[in-house]
Each structure stands twice: as C-alpha cells, then as structure tokens.
C-alpha cells in the first residue's frame, strides 16, 4: 500500500469521526498556541528591554557610590555619601574618553499646578542630560549650564506629567509647585512610552540637580553620575579613567576597595535581557507541558479508537492488509491529527499574541523559530504518542479481531 492510499484511508477514517478528531486535535491546538503565545510574550519583553537600552545609548556609564561597611556591617549599594558634584567635574576634566557628565539626585514629590496635583519622580540632573540619555525636548528648552550652576527653580516635564497637570494647555512658562516651592516650566520631553512592565518613563520631572540637592532634598552629596563616553568603543577606556580619577580624589589606598562603582550600559543590558530570557524559558516550559498533555490526549483517543475499531482492523486484515499497513494507517491518523492541530495552533498562537499586545499593552514578538519548534514538536508528539496504539492495532490476530463484538 503506498503513501497516497494510506493517507486516503486515514483521512476517511478521521472524517467519519469529525467531532472526536477535532476534540483530539484540540489538545495540540491549545498546546501549540500556548507555546507560541507565551514565547512571543517573553521574546517581546526581551526585545523591548534591548531596544530601551540601545535608545539610551551604548556609550552610557553610571557611577554610583559603593556599599559602605562599618565595623563589619555592610550597608546597601549607594550607602556611601562620598560622591560629590566636584567628582563629576573632575571626571569631565581629567578623562579624555568622557564626553558629558550629569550628576543625579532623585526623589519623589507631589506636584501641584492650580487645583491639580500628581505624584511623580523628580530627577535632579545636569544640563547635558538630554545628550547623555538620547532624550530631546519635544518643545520648549532644557535648562542650560548657567541655570544649573546657579540652582534656578526651573523644570522640564515628562509627557505623562504634562498630560495629567495641563490636559492639553500650554505648560511653557507656567509655575508648578514641588514641595511648595514654585518651579517655572521650560519645556516638555519627548514621549518614550511604556517600558514593558517597568513603568512609564514619561512620568518624571527634570530639575537642575543643584536645585534638587539644596531645596528639595537638603543634602550635600549626589546620588549618581551619568557619564557618556565619546564613542561606544571607548567606554572601557572611559571606565578605567573614571575609576582612576575617583580613587585619587577619594584617597583610596592601593589594594583597598572602591567606595564607588562604575557600570556600563552593556553590562546592565545583559543582566536585564538574561532575566527576560529566563522569563521566556519559563513561559515556554509551562506551555510545553500543555502540549505534552495534548499528546497524551492523542494517545488516549487513539487507544480508544483502536479498541472500538478492532472489527474494522480484522476486516482489513482478512482482505490482505499487512501489519505494516495497519500500523501506518493508525500512525498516519495520529500524525495528521497533530499536524492539523499544529497548523490551527499556530493560527491560535498568532491570534492570541496579537490580542495580548493589543489589549494587555504588552509587546509580543513571534519568531519563525518558535513557530517551527512548536510545529516540529507537535509532529513528534503525534508520532511518539501515536506509535503505541498503532502498534497495538497492527499486532491484533485477524481471527480474534473478526470475532470481536
């Protein structure tokens, strides 16, 4: 019996039991669909994170204070208060691989404008912040060097804050209040959008770090320094220069631990994309279990089907079907079911992943690889779980099968 005939026989048999065939394939449909949808969520999150980091620029470096330990008790990262704005100036002056620096202090505060108020993150930054973060103002201007040096009460708003406080009115030149202190709005930053579950980046207000330090936080130190290297391939060099400069300035003896640490963007990006990789694996793994359950469903139904069709098998054998013919017929039925289920599952996966990104606001990314893998897996499930029932059918004795009631 050739392949075409086998396929015909199997399709006829499946067609005779449409409802059962569909229910059997449903396990595979859901399994494949779940794998594709879940992996697309993981991949989407990964792509989102990677994109966000590239947007910020690969030549970005962060200087943060290290963890302080006093008589054996370690504080958390950033517990040193030894980072000063003079350090930032020194980095800019001494390190020739460094292009811009921006000292940072952050806090949260209630923002009031007229009768509206909003709680937002307040970033005290330097005047080069837009250049370092690759983030321009949409309209208006950013504060300049002079305004930073003299600690002016000015600010630039993120688009979400603008939306919530001004509701379409022109914010430029308006006065908002942070901790009862009036600030004049200079400009509005470009919209950066959602950050894939990491919160909106547009819900922030940039003020000169000098102002934030003196008037909002009342501290003398700064919390971190954003640095951009002159080019992406000189970030390592810039890192070394910064470390050297700060060790000298902080009078750290050779061999002693730094009271600060410098990290570059690619380290951070790597860590973040590793986390999303784990997310992808986890989601994909859970979905694969449903595919496995679908496969067991196929085996279950095929076993029932073999028992139910013992007489049919006997008839086929009596007219000359060989073991191989019966084996192939039942195996083909299982494979057709799982491949058909695989195709429908791919459609389901594509559909649900686009629904997820539309309604849940998550970025999803369907890769050809995950489709191919899910499809291949579905086919293998068919062969694997179809083989045992098919073999059982082919080993039946024709005399007993014909007599079976």
């Amino acid at each position: 019996m050739n392949i075409a005939k086998t396929a015909k026989v199997s399709l006829l048999a499946l067609n005779r039991n449409k409802m059962r065939s569909f229910l059997t394939a449903l396990g595979i449909i859901i399994g494949v669909g779940a794998v594709i949808a879940m992996v697309s969520i993981g991949q989407g999150a990964k792509a989102e994170v990677e994109q966000r980091f590239t947007e910020m620029g690969t030549n970005l470096l962060f200087v943060r204070p290290g963890s302080m330990s006093f008589r054996g008790v370690h504080g958390g990262g950033g517990s040193y208060t030894t980072l000063k704005d003079s350090d930032a100036k020194a980095i800019l002056e001494n390190c020739d691989a460094v292009q811009y620096v921006s000292p940072n202090v952050n806090t949260r505060a209630q923002v009031v404008f007229g009768n509206k108020n909003w709680n937002s993150s307040i970033n005290g930054v330097g005047d080069k912040y837009p250049q370092i973060r690759n983030w321009d103002v949409e309209y208006g201007v950013f504060f300049d060097e002079n305004q930073v040096r003299t600690g002016q009460k000015v600010c630039v708003l993120g688009s979400e804050v603008t939306e919530n406080l001004f509701e379409g009115a022109d914010p430029i030149g308006q006065i908002i209040r942070l901790k009862k202190i009036p600030f004049r709005v200079l400009g509005v930053l470009e919209t950066k959008g959602e950050a894939g579950g990491f919160g909106s980046r547009d819900d922030m207000i940039a003020v000169p770090y000098t102002t934030a330090k003196g008037r909002l936080l009342n501290i003398d130190n700064i919390q971190s320094i954003d640095v951009s290297a002159v080019s992406a391939d000189r970030t390592d060099e810039a890192m070394r220069q910064i470390e050297e400069t700060l060790r000298i300035r902080h009078k750290i003896a050779p061999g002693a631990e730094d009271d600060f640490n410098v990290r570059n963007m690619s380290d951070i990006a790597e860590g973040a994309s590793e986390a999303t990789q784990i997310l992808t694996l986890l989601l994909g793994g859970i979905a694969s279990i449903s595919l496995l359950v679908g496969g067991i469903g196929i085996m279950n139904i095929m076993l029932v089907s073999v028992t139910e069709r013992i007489r049919e098998i006997g008839i086929r054998m009596s007219v000359g079907a060989q073991e191989r013919d019966i084996l192939l017929q039942f195996l083909t039925e299982a494979v057709v079911l799982s491949v058909l289920g695989g195709v429908l599952g791919i459609c389901l996966g594509l559909g649900s992943s686009s629904l997820i990104s539309k309604f849940a606001g998550m970025k999803t990314l369907v890769s050809i690889g995950s489709i191919a893998l899910a499809f291949f897996f579905a086919g293998s499930v068919g062969v694997f779980f179809g083989f045992y029932p098919a073999r059982k059918a082919s080993k039946l004795d024709p005399i007993e099968a014909l007599r079976y009631e």
């Binding site: 049919e312 086929r316 009596s318 000359g320 079907a321 060989q322 191989r324 005399i399």
Partner: protein, 230 residues
C-alpha cells in the same frame, strides 16, 4: 503434484493451548479440493469447521502437517506472506457480513484492492464490475447502514470477488438472512460457480444450503466423518 488440485491438506492438525490443557481442534486431516469445486464443510458446532476454514483461508496456520494452495506450501508462510495470499487468492464471505460501517458499497468492495498494487482508477472499475455481477448496479454509493441484509451480503460477495480470487470461502453466508433472501444469495454463489468457474467452499450446518453443493464433507471432533457427493 496434480495441477488441478487447488487445495491439498496433508495430515493437518491444529492444537490450541488453553492454559495447562491442550485442545486438539483438528486431528490429522488429509483432503484434496479440485479447482472449480463447489463444496460444503458441515458438522455440529465444535467439530472444527471454523478452525479448518481459518486454515484454508490463510488466517491461521496448522500446528502440524502441510497445507498447499495452488501448489504453494502455505504452512511455511510468515504473517506477511499469508496476508498477501489472502489478498490475491482468497475472498471471504461471513455470516455477519463484516462490512465497514458508514462506508459506501463501492468503498467496501474496493477494500482488497487498496492493499494490492492495482492503481486506484482501475480498482474503481473492477469494483463497479463486481457490484454489477451481484446485481447492485446503481446502489454503489449507498452506505452500509442504508442497505438491507441481503444487499449487505451481496456487497460482501462483490468484495470477495473483486480481486478475481481462485477461492471464495463463505462461513454461514445465509445464517443472518431470511429463507427467501438466503435462496437468492445461494443462487448468486451457484451462478458464480457455473459461469466463472470459481472454487467455492461453504461452511454451514444448514442442510438446505448444502443442497446447492456437489460435495459435502462432514466433520466431527476434528476428523472427517464422511463425504457425500451428488
């Protein structure tokens, strides 16, 4: 070996193992059936007729002794060779018809050709011809459940015929039919025998059915008791 002998049984035994005890269903049967015979195997239940039919029909093999069909020693065949022999040389008709349910008369008739190397276009033609021979022209697309008992048995005969076998084995072919329909089925068998010269073996305990045959072999306790000719 005489070329006119279709079937030759030499001291054929069949022993079933039932737990610890042995059941000897056939006890050394030797018999020869010529080409073009129309013969009945008769006997009470438990006499071994079904066992003998299974062996002649290549569904089973003797435990001991030799069985030749068309000069081939079937008793040495493996499962696949037995299946091929059933496919090419033998047509079965059963008491309970044994047709595939929810399947058309034509597809049922075509079934043996599905497992042969006949191309599908040719097999359709052959199936139509076989259905025509049993008087079912025009009913080929009716499904099994739309057919009467007599019609189902005619489909079964068409299926047995379709491969131009040298032997048709019918096991109580009228057992599930009323007398009149049974007569009609027997008339089909006799006309197939006289017109096409097909060898037909009927297994029955109904003397009325046996009337139609030329030879009657009586089995009792796994042995041939007597033979009658008419």
């Amino acid at each position: 070996m005489d070329n006119n002998n279709l079937i030759q049984l030499e001291n054929v035994s069949r022993i079933y193992q039932m737990g610890d005890s042995e059941v000897r269903a056939l006890k050394g049967i030797s018999y020869t059936i010529k080409r073009g015979d129309l013969l009945a195997i008769m006997g009470p239940s438990g006499s071994g007729k079904s066992t003998l039919m299974n062996i002649i029909g290549c569904l089973d093999k003797p435990s001991d002794g030799k069985y030749f069909l068309e000069g081939q020693e079937i008793s040495t065949f493996n499962k696949n060779e037995l299946a091929r022999t059933r496919n090419k040389n033998i047509g079965f008709v059963f008491q309970n018809f044994n047709l595939l349910s929810r399947t058309t008369a034509l597809e049922n008739t075509e079934l043996p050709l599905l497992y042969s190397d006949v191309p599908s276009k040719k097999s359709r033609e052959m199936a139509m011809k076989a259905l025509d021979m049993v008087g079912l022209r025009g009913r080929e697309l009716h499904k099994t459940n739309q057919l009467s008992g007599g019609e189902m048995q005619r489909v079964a005969i068409a299926r047995a015929l379709v491969n131009n076998p040298s032997l048709i084995l019918a096991d109580e072919p009228t057992g599930n039919l009323d007398t009149k329909t049974g007569q009609e089925i027997m008339e089909i068998f006799t006309s197939l025998h006289s017109e096409k010269g097909i060898t037909i073996i009927l297994v029955t305990h109904d003397p009325e059915v046996a009337e139609f045959t030329h030879r009657r072999v009586y089995l009792r306790d796994g042995e041939i008791e007597r033979e009658e000719r008419s």
